[in-house]
Amino acid sequence: MTRHVGKLELDPQTVKQARALARKAGRPIVTMAKKHTTVAVERATLRLAGLQGADAEGTPWVNRLLDVVRADTGLEHGVALPVWDALLRGEADDLPTLAQKASAGSVRFRLPEGKDAERARKASARQVGRGIKLIDTRRVERDRMIKRHGDAPRQPWIYLIVATGDIYEDIPQAQQAAREGADVIAVIRSTGQSLLDFVPEGATREGFAGTYATQENFRLMRAALDESSKELGRYVRLTNYASGLCMPEIAALAGMERLDMMLNDSMYGILFRDINPVRTFVDQRFSRQVHARAGIIINTGEDNYLTTADAVEAAHTVTTSQLLNEYFAKEAGLEDWQLGLGHAFEIDPNVPDSFRLELAHAMLARDLFPNAPLKWMPPTRHMTGDVFQGYLLDGFFNLVGALTGQGILLVGMMTEAVVTPWLSDRDLALQNVRYVMNAAGNLHEDFRPQPDGFIANRARQVLGESVDLMHQILDHEHGLLDAIADGTFGLMKRPADAGRGLEGVAKKSSAYYNPASEILEAQ
């Protein structure tokens, strides 16, 4: 990596210190994550082994099987040894049959020992290895398709959202959005899916302000966008959400169905969804290992900090979260090009110099993470229904994007907070992006902030505050976990022994074995 000197000429010592502090805050979390497993990690392992489908009530077989294993042997040893031991004992010929028999109560699971354990370990590694192999194949397939059809013609990639609730409505909308210029399609999930402790099954036609993330929906949409890629002569990427209680499973499904980007933040679920911190960190690490393997680009959720707190006062929380997200991502094996670190244009337009402040913040992110494809999120908080003012605000948002070399640009809609985007809203929004990129896309070549001017000073100030916040985190007895517990991040107090999904966490026993983790750790 060449040494990058950014436009802000940040003090390299301070940057180094900020990273060192993030590492110091993050490392105990990783140690803790390595010592625990969760129901979602174990279910993801079963999914990688090829177990799909659901019973008549819609409960996935992975949930059914894991629940029985857990009742018999506990969660702490992992699902692999008891399950493949049962298969080797001839309880069933394959996983689906075993799951059915187990939920009918006709299989007893045990924790195998000695030679039996060794055989179960080998058999599970073989079968789960096939799932990882499938992820590898999908990754090669993506590379091949990008070579064949070509990549997005420029950066930033244009990111558009569809969200009808019905996958069969989403498909034509997504294909139309791609024709209109989208490089990335994101299918928004149904409200509240993040709090479901199972992944719904099959193609779904009803959702709340979004469409359920299911394996079949992933497959259908990816196939549709493959058609679009062929039609348009450029590979159109697909995004979904690996967040909430089923993060590891969704990540595995995304890898197996060749999704290209996934929303995947290290603390979002804790702070904004009240999911247990331990559960989140364990799930997150596994899901990021899968994303690393699958060549998936993650998008982090720093924009959320700015929609709940003041975007000027809380600017340093974004930087801090980006640094933590970077540490956790790299520890899990993700590379710089996979880090779509988030930030957003959310300063009150009535604040004097708001544009210069936005530019300073965006430039700070760019200079701190020179090789990451940053994800730039449009204004939402100060979109009032005055669509004309909103259109101008989106134009300035696009201009900051052009000036700071953002990798992924979520297209802002002037009807934000009014209606779900109309056809014309999307068309006008894309026109806005095209105009700005065409008119000022290369302005960054001429633009260099005064070394001691407003922008450079503001960026230094935010970085300084971020370093202070990191010190504050480390001053807690148990570091980051305590900081999260006492509300250091915004107003939300999230203690490590509370929150959703805690009952699905277990400390690993000395006999714990997980073939997926074993393969992913080695990468």
Binding site: R179, L271, D274, S424, D427
Partner: protein, 252 residues
């Protein structure tokens, strides 16, 4: 100045001259851009009462749609004296105002216990109102510093809910119901309100609020609750209602 404007209650839109009646509209028609399409746009504008209508902008959006901007003079009059509006019976407060009002009146945090009762596993509604993530661009009740939110999640039984409400000394209980098979939402709500009436003296009972997409907002009395919120209710509306009922009641 003409007669209408001086009367005050009969007015027409204002472009740059009193009484000119000028308006602008934009819309999309599902047809390719052509002379005919522009004519179609003008025809629609005429039917909306805009005459003459100037189609000032027409742009193809893909092969099948055209977007228009139209300016013109609208021939309708507005009689302000005949305007009827339904006023909300409580003022809408910002989170800041709600927090300040609670602090001032109660000198403690206001406790809200929320749950999905019965077999309903859809926490969408209660989470949209309670989670900090919120709904429709508004932050949920967790965001309010002066509100203590206890979200019990899904499939909570009525006795559990009552017990927890007592333990937390709840000021208000929020119940969300999405599933409506065989009127489950109505039966569950009645069971809940009856249980609270039974275990609390009338003047100590917490405020009972129920919400969901299929409820009739006028059915509060029938269901034995204090308020029913329907589809599209935002956290800010719920918070404002809580403040109005609990804080104002205390103050009076």
């Amino acid at each position: 100045m003409n007669k209408q404007a001086s009367d005050g209650h009969i007015i027409r839109p204002y472009g740059d001259t009193t009484g000119d009646g000028m308006v602008q509209v934009s819309f999309t028609l599902p047809m390719p851009h052509s002379k005919v399409a522009e004519g179609a746009a003008a025809q629609l504008a005429n039917k909306m009462g805009i005459d003459p209508a100037m189609v000032v902008h027409a742009k193809a959006m893909g092969p099948d749609f055209t977007f228009f901007v139209v300016y013109g003079r609208v021939n309708h009059l507005v009689d302000v004296s005949k305007v009827e509006v339904v006023e909300r019976d409580y003022p809408l407060l910002s989170p800041k105002e709600a927090n300040a009002a609670i602090k001032r009146a109660l000198r403690r945090r206001l406790t809200v216990v929320g749950a999905c009762i019965g077999t309903d596993a859809h926490t969408v509604g209660i989470d949209a109102i309670l989670n900090i993530k919120g709904f429709a661009g508004e932050k949920g009740l967790e965001y309010y510093r002066e509100l203590k939110v206890v979200n019990l999640g899904a499939q909570v039984s009525v006795p559990q809910l009552v017990e927890r409400a007592r333990a937390e000394k709840a000021d208000a209980v929020l119940v969300s119901q999405v599933v409506t098979q065989r009127d489950a939402h109505l039966l569950n709500t009645r069971e809940m309100s009856a249980a609270f009436r039974e275990s609390y003296p009338a003047d100590k009972r917490p405020l009972l609020i129920v919400g969901g997409p299929r409820f009739d907002e006028g059915a509060a009395a029938d269901l034995g609750v204090d308020r029913v919120f329907g589809r599209g209710t935002t956290p800010g509306e719920v918070a404002s209602y809580l403040v109005h009922q609990l804080v104002e009641r205390k103050a009076s």
